[in-house]
Amino acid sequence: MDNLKEELKNQIIEQLNLEDIKAADIADDALLFNDQGLGLDSIDALELIVLLEKYYGIQVTNPDEGKEAFLSINTMADYIIKRKG
């Protein structure tokens, strides 16, 4: 699970062009879309959907599901594990 979270952080940094941010700067429970967290926006949300499909083969078809999944690194990792079985 820790490996998955580390991997996710690096993928997010690369996919979203988060310059000057390292994986160690992202807390597992930091709110991704909050200004006090990573401050991501709606385009970043779309990129996260692309990321899940590209790296994990997961299609997010239910918007409500996506909203819950993308709260933090913790929730994203949980979602990936749940979807991949």
């Binding site: 979203l16 062009n17 988060l18 310059e19 000057d20 401050g39 385009i43 970043d44 779309l46 990129e47 692309v50 499909e53 590209k54």
Partner: protein, 203 residues
């Protein structure tokens, strides 16, 4: 009568404000020229890294003009500054990158897609500065001073008091960026005529 009160040039090698060079490209650096400028001029705007080259160049040049005219933002109401930009390549750099994202990498990138229209740079500048005035982006075969002179007058006759104008000639190989600020009240500046504009544009 209106006046050109500040201008900024960016090309592949240098950056000049009101004719004076303020930075030149470090050919040894691993970073591209726009990122070098962003860092060397001490800008702090993390969204910069998500922008395409048109928006990055527009951001840098407009911020440098604001530094040359520190009262620009406070002198005018938020709907009195118009934006009038143009180029000959539209958003071709972003168009090609977006096309590659789905042709070669298999998934279309939303972050690239949003920049596949050249006028997005106007949105970036307007959002940053909270300017709600008129704006227009045109694609022309080449920089045309007459067009800018005429359209600035149209904006001013419709109520704008200042117009930030720009030519963003950016393709994958070259950069010829020229931004200039026109103010209705700016007697210290150069009168806006096609002849004066062509002279300082230097194209």
């Amino acid at each position: 009568m209106s006046f050109i009160t500040s201008y900024c040039h960016l090309d592949n090698e240098s950056c000049r404000v009101n004719g004076q060079e303020i930075a030149s490209r470090d050919s040894e650096s691993t970073e591209n020229w726009l990122r070098q400028l962003y860092k060397s001029q001490d800008f702090v705007y993390p969204k910069f890294y998500k922008m395409d080259s048109l928006s990055q160049a527009g951001f840098i040049a407009s911020e440098l003009i604001k530094r040359a005219q520190p009262n620009l933002v406070s002198n005018y109401a938020d709907d009195k500054i118009a934006l009038l930009f143009g180029n000959q390549y539209s958003s071709v750099d972003s168009d090609i990158r977006f096309k590659k994202s789905y042709q070669e990498q298999g998934t279309p990138s939303p972050a690239l897609f949003v920049y596949t229209l050249p006028n997005i740079v106007l949105g970036e500048i307007a959002i940053l500065n909270k300017w709600y005035g008129e704006n227009l982006f045109v694609v022309l075969p080449k920089f045309t001073a007459d067009f800018f002179v005429n359209y600035v007058q149209i904006f001013i006759s419709q109520g704008s008091d200042a117009v930030l104008c720009g030519w963003l000639g950016i393709s994958s190989e070259q950069m010829n960026v020229f931004l200039f600020l026109v103010e209705k009240q700016g007697e210290a500046g150069m009168e806006l005529t096609a002849e004066n504009l062509e002279k300082i544009a230097g194209f």
